[in-house]
C-alpha cells in the first residue's frame, strides 16, 4: 500500500512540469492525472484504515547518512484519505474553474506538486523528509497564492505568508533538532523510542505548537491565514483552508501524541486555551467580513480551534489515565478534521462559482443569486448548514462528540480543569451559535434578496464540473451526518494506535445498532441518530408542506404585492452584510476588534449622500505581525547594502566567518 501511495505521489510530481505547457490538453492531462493519482491514494488509504498494518519503506536519497524513511500507519492513512478526497474533488472542480483563471500556467504546475508535498508530509518517517516535504508544501502553496500577482493585496499577502512559513518551519526545525538529541537520531522511530523529556522536551513541544499552530491558523498566529488563503484561486483556497491546515494538525498530533512521549496535562490545557480563543475570535472576525472568501478563511480559524479543543481534551484525559474519554475526544477532533475539510472545501468551491460567475467576492455587491445559480445556491446552503452544525449534517456529529467529551470534564482530578474545561465548552457553544449567524448572513446576503450590482444580476449557472464536484462533497456531508459511525469505525484504528484504547462505544465490536445510533460512551446513554433526525426532518417538512397546500384556500387572490418592508426599488436599501453584523459588532466591537464607526451625515438641505464607514483592527496583527513585519523590512533594508560591494568586501565577511568557525572548532576541542 505504501508503495502504491508513493508511486501515485511521484506521478503527481511528474504532472507538475506538464502543467507548464499551454493549451487545454495540458490542463486536462494535469487534472485527469491528479484525479487518477488522488483516487489511488484515497483507495489505498481507506483500505489501510480497515485492514492494514503499519509498514515502512526506506529509499536511498536525502541526506548522505540518512536515507528517506516513509511509514504509513492509521493516523497518516486517516489524513491521507481526507487530503486525497478533497484533492480529488478539487481536481474535478479545476476542470471548470481553470477556464476562469487568467494565467492557468501559474496554477497548473503547482496544483499537483502541492498535493504531492502534502502526501509526503503525511508519510514521512524522519525529520528531514518531513521538513523537506513541509517546506515544499509551503512553497507550492506560496506560488499558488501569487498566481494572481497583479493585485497589490495579493503581493502583500504572499509576503506575509512567506515570512510566516519561514518562521514556522524554523520553529519545527529547531524542535526536531531538539528531539533528535545530540546523537542526531532523526528518524521518527528513534524519537519515539527515546523521547526527550524535561525542560528541553517542553521547549521542543512549544516550538511545534508555534510552528504547526501558525500553519494551522491558531490565534494569535492566525493573521496571515485570512490574507493568504483567499488570494489563491478558489479550488486552491479550498485545499489550503480545508486540507493544508489539517496537515498542520497532523504535525501537532504526530508530535504531541506519538513522538514526544507522555505529555503532562499542562500541554492539554495550553491547547484548550488556544483552541477556545481560536474558535470564538475566528468566528467573530468571520462575522465582520464582507468578502466571502475572507469570511470563509476566518471561519477556518474557528474550526481549527474546535479541532484543537478536541486534541487538548484528549491530552488532558490521557495524562490522567482516562484513555476511554481521551479516545472519545480524539475521535471528535479527527472526525471534525474530515468534516471541516469537506464542508469548507464545498463552501470555497461555492465562493469560486460565485466569483467566476460574477467577478465579485464582496457580499455587498452580490445578492439574488439563488434565481440565477440555483444549483450553486442549494449546494452552498448544504455547506452552510453543515458548518453551522445543524443536524442531520456532518458538522453536528463531530461538534456534538466534542461537547460529550467536555461534559465529562468533572471526572478530572485537577481543579483548574474541572472549572476551566466547562469555560472552554461555553466558548465553543458561543462559537457554534455565532457560526450559525455567520453563515445565515453569508448565504442570505449572497444568494437571497435582490442583486446589488449588475454583475450579480447577469450571473449564470457554472459548468457541470464545478457544481458536480460540489455535489460530491455535499453528498459526503449528508452521508457522514446521517451515518457518522461509518467514519468512526476507521477512526477507531487511529485512536487504538495512539492511545491504546478504542472508541468507548465500539470497544466490544461493531454492531448494526452502532450505525444507527452514535453513542459516545455506552449504548443507551445520550446517543444520537442522524438517520432518525433526517427522517423526522423529512416527515415534518412533508407534513407542513401537505398541510399548507391542502388547508390553504384554493382561491386566487390578486392584490398589491407585499413589499417586504422596502417599497424603495433601489436594491441598495436591502438589509446588507454590514447591517447584519452590526449588533454583534456593537457587543464585542470596541474590545475585540477596536471597531471605529464613522458616520458622515450631511447638513439638512445638503444633497450629498450620507456615509458610514467601519474600521476594524485585528489585535493579533498589531501585537504579533506588525513587529515581525517591521523587523523583517528593517533587516532587509540593512542587508540590501550587501548587494553593492566590491569583490574584496564580499570576500572579507567570508574570510571572517571562516576564521571564526575555525576558532570555534579549535576552542571546542
Amino acid at each position: 500500500m505504501l508503495t502504491a501511495i508513493l508511486v501515485a505521489t511521484a506521478a503527481l510530481v511528474v504532472l507538475g512540469p506538464i502543467g507548464v505547457a499551454r493549451g487545454r490538453a495540458a490542463a486536462n492531462l494535469v487534472h485527469f492525472g491528479s484525479i487518477a493519482a488522488t483516487s489511488v491514494v484515497l483507495g489505498h488509504a481507506v483500505w489501510f484504515l480497515f485492514d492494514g498494518t503499519p509498514t515502512t519503506l526506506t529509499l536511498p536519497f536525502g541526506l548522505p547518512w540518512l536515507a528517506a524513511h516513509f511509514r504509513i500507519d492509521a493516523l497518516s492513512a486517516w489524513f491521507l484519505s481526507v487530503i486525497s478526497l478533497v484533492g480529488l474533488t478539487a481536481a474535478i472542480y479545476g476542470f471548470g474553474y481553470i477556464r476562469h483563471v487568467d494565467e492557468p500556467g501559474r496554477v497548473l504546475p503547482f496544483f499537483p506538486l502541492f498535493l504531492a508535498a502534502m502526501n509526503l508530509v503525511l508519510i514521512a518517517d524522519d525529520a528531514f523528509t518531513f521538513l523537506l516535504s513541509w517546506e515544499c508544501m509551503s512553497l507550492a502553496s506560496w506560488f499558488l497564492v501569487v498566481a494572481n500577482h497583479r493585485q497589490p493585496d495579493n503581493a502583500r499577502a504572499a509576503l506575509v505568508y512567506l515570512v510566516m512559513a519561514v518562521i514556522g518551519t524554523s520553529c519545527l526545525l529547531l524542535a526536531f533538532g531538539i528531539m533528535a538529541g545530540f546523537e542526531g537520531a532523526y528518524s521518527f522511530a528513534d524519537m519515539r523510542a527515546a523521547p526527550v523529556t524535561g525542560r528541553l522536551g517542553g521547549l521542543a513541544v512549544a516550538l511545534v505548537v508555534i510552528g504547526a499552530g501558525s500553519k494551522a491558523g491558531l490565534v494569535p498566529l492566525h493573521a496571515w491565514l485570512p490574507l493568504a488563503h483567499p488570494a489563491a484561486p478558489s479550488h486552491i483556497s479550498a485545499l489550503m483552508s480545508g486540507v493544508m491546515t489539517k496537515v498542520a494538525i497532523y504535525g501537532l498530533v504526530r508530535v504531541m501524541f506519538d513522538l514526544a512521549g507522555d505529555l503532562g496535562w499542562g500541554w492539554g490545557a495550553v491547547l484548550l486555551v488556544l483552541g477556545g480563543a481560536s474558535a470564538v475570535l475566528g468566528i467573530l472576525y468571520a462575522l465582520m467580513q464582507n468578502d466571502l472568501k475572507v469570511l470563509l478563511a476566518y471561519s477556518t480559524v474557528e474550526n481549527v480551534g474546535i479541532i484543537v479543543i478536541g486534541l487538548g481534551l484528549a491530552l488532558v484525559f490521557k495524562a490522567n489515565g482516562l484513555v476511554g474519554l481521551a479516545a472519545l475526544a480524539q475521535v471528535a477532533a479527527l472526525l471534525h478534521v474530515l468534516n471541516h475539510a469537506l464542508f469548507k472545501s464545498l463552501l470555497f468551491f461555492g465562493s469560486g462559482c460565485v466569483l467566476s460567475a460574477t467577478g465579485e467576492r464582496d457580499m455587498e455587491r452580490l445578492g439574488g443569486l439563488i434565481h440565477r445559480m440555483p444549483r450553486t445556491a442549494f449546494l452552498f446552503l448544504v455547506g452552510s448548514a453543515a458548518i453551522s452544525a445543524l443536524p442531520p449534517f456532518n458538522g453536528f456529529a463531530s461538534e456534538w462528540l466534542t461537547f460529550q467529551a467536555i461534559l465529562n470534564a468533572p471526572v478530572l482530578p485537577q481543579w483548574v480543569l474541572k472549572f476551566g474545561v466547562p469555560v472552554v465548552g461555553a466558548l465553543l457553544a458561543l462559537a457554534a451559535a455565532l457560526a450559525a449567524a455567520c453563515f445565515v448572513r453569508a448565504f442570505g446576503i449572497t444568494f437571497l434578496g435582490r442583486p446589488r450590482s449588475d454583475a450579480a444580476a447577469q450571473a449564470a449557472e457554472v459548468e457541470p464540473a464545478m457544481w458536480g464536484a460540489m455535489a460530491v462533497l455535499a453528498a459526503c456531508c449528508l452521508v457522514l451526518g446521517v451515518l457518522p459511525t461509518a467514519a468512526i469505525v476507521p477512526l477507531n484504528a487511529v485512536v487504538r494506535d495512539l492511545l491504546g484504547s478504542p472508541f468507548p462505544a465500539l470497544s466490544s465490536g461493531v454492531a448494526v445498532h452502532d450505525f444507527l445510533f452514535l453513542a459516545p460512551l455506552e449504548p443507551g446513554r445520550s446517543s444520537y441518530s442522524g438517520l432518525l433526525v433526517l427522517a423526522v426532518v423529512a416527515l415534518v417538512t412533508w407534513v407542513v408542506a401537505r398541510c399548507a397546500h391542502r388547508l390553504a384556500s384554493p382561491q386566487v387572490r390578486r392584490g398589491p404585492p407585499w413589499d417586504c418592508g422596502f417599497p424603495d426599488p433601489q436594491p441598495a436599501t436591502q438589509y446588507t452584510a454590514s447591517s447584519f453584523a452590526q449588533p454583534i459588532r456593537r457587543v464585542y466591537g470596541t474590545l475585540i476588534f477596536r471597531a471605529r464607526e464613522r458616520v458622515d451625515m450631511p447638513e439638512p438641505g445638503d444633497s450629498r449622500p450620507a456615509r458610514f464607514a467601519v474600521h476594524l483592527i485585528d489585535p493579533a496583527w498589531e501585537a504579533f505581525y506588525a513587529p515581525i513585519e517591521r523587523g523583517v523590512a528593517a533587516a532587509t533594508a540593512r542587508a540590501n547594502v550587501l548587494q553593492f560591494l566590491t569583490i574584496r568586501r564580499y570576500l572579507s565577511p567570508v574570510f571572517a566567518a571562516l576564521i571564526a568557525l575555525l576558532c570555534i572548532v579549535v576552542l571546542a576541542k
Binding site: 569583490i647 574570510f655 576541542k669
Partner: protein
Amino acid sequence: MIGRIEFDIAHALSASVLLLSFALLYQRRVSGVIEAFALQAVAVAAAAAWQAFTQDAPHLYITALIALLFKAMVIPIALSRIVRKLGMHKTIETVLGVNLALLAGVGLVALSILLVFPATSVAAVLTRENLALALSIVLLGLLMMITRRNAVTQVIGFMSLENGLVLAAVGVKGMPLVVEMSIAFSVLIAFLVFGMFIFRIRERFDTLDLQYLEAFRGDHQSERS
C-alpha cells in the same frame, strides 16, 4: 616507511612555500609580488616532485611540471607583461598595514596548527605537518586577497591560495591526477578571466586600483543619493 631525511626535506619544501606566502604579504610593489609568486610556484613544484619521489608516484611529476610551467613561468611572465604594458610600477594600496598583515598571518598559521594537529593525531606524521602548512597557505592567500586593493595582487592571492591546495593534494597518498589537473586548469581559467577583467578596468578607468571602481557603480550611486 618514510625515513627521517625524506620527512625533513618535504617539511623544508612545504615550509619554504609558506615562507614565500609571507613574502607575498609584505611586498610593496607589483613586480615584487609577481616575482615572489613565481618563486613560490617553483617551491610548490619542488615539493610536488619530492613527494613524487618519496611516494613513488610518477603522476605527481606531472603535477610538478604543470606547476613549474604554468605558475612559475607562463603566468608570471604574462602578468609582468600586462604590468609593463599598463605602466603600473607604483606601490600597492593596502587596506591593512604590512606589519599588521604579517601579524595576522602569524595568527592564521597558529590557528591552522591548532586546528590540524589535534584533528589528525592518528594520521601519518608527514600528512599532519603538510596539512597544517597547506591550510596556513590557503588562509594567507585569502588574507592577501582581502587586504590588497590592487587587482593584480588579488589574482596572485587567489593563485597562491591554490598553491596551498596543490600542496595539500600532493601530500596525501593516492590522490588521483584528475584533481590536480582540474585545479590547474581552473587556475588558468581564473587567470584568463582576471586578465580580461584587468584590461577592461584599465580601458575604462585608466587605473587598476579597484578603489576608483567603487564610485562608478550606478546602483550604488542611486542608493546613496
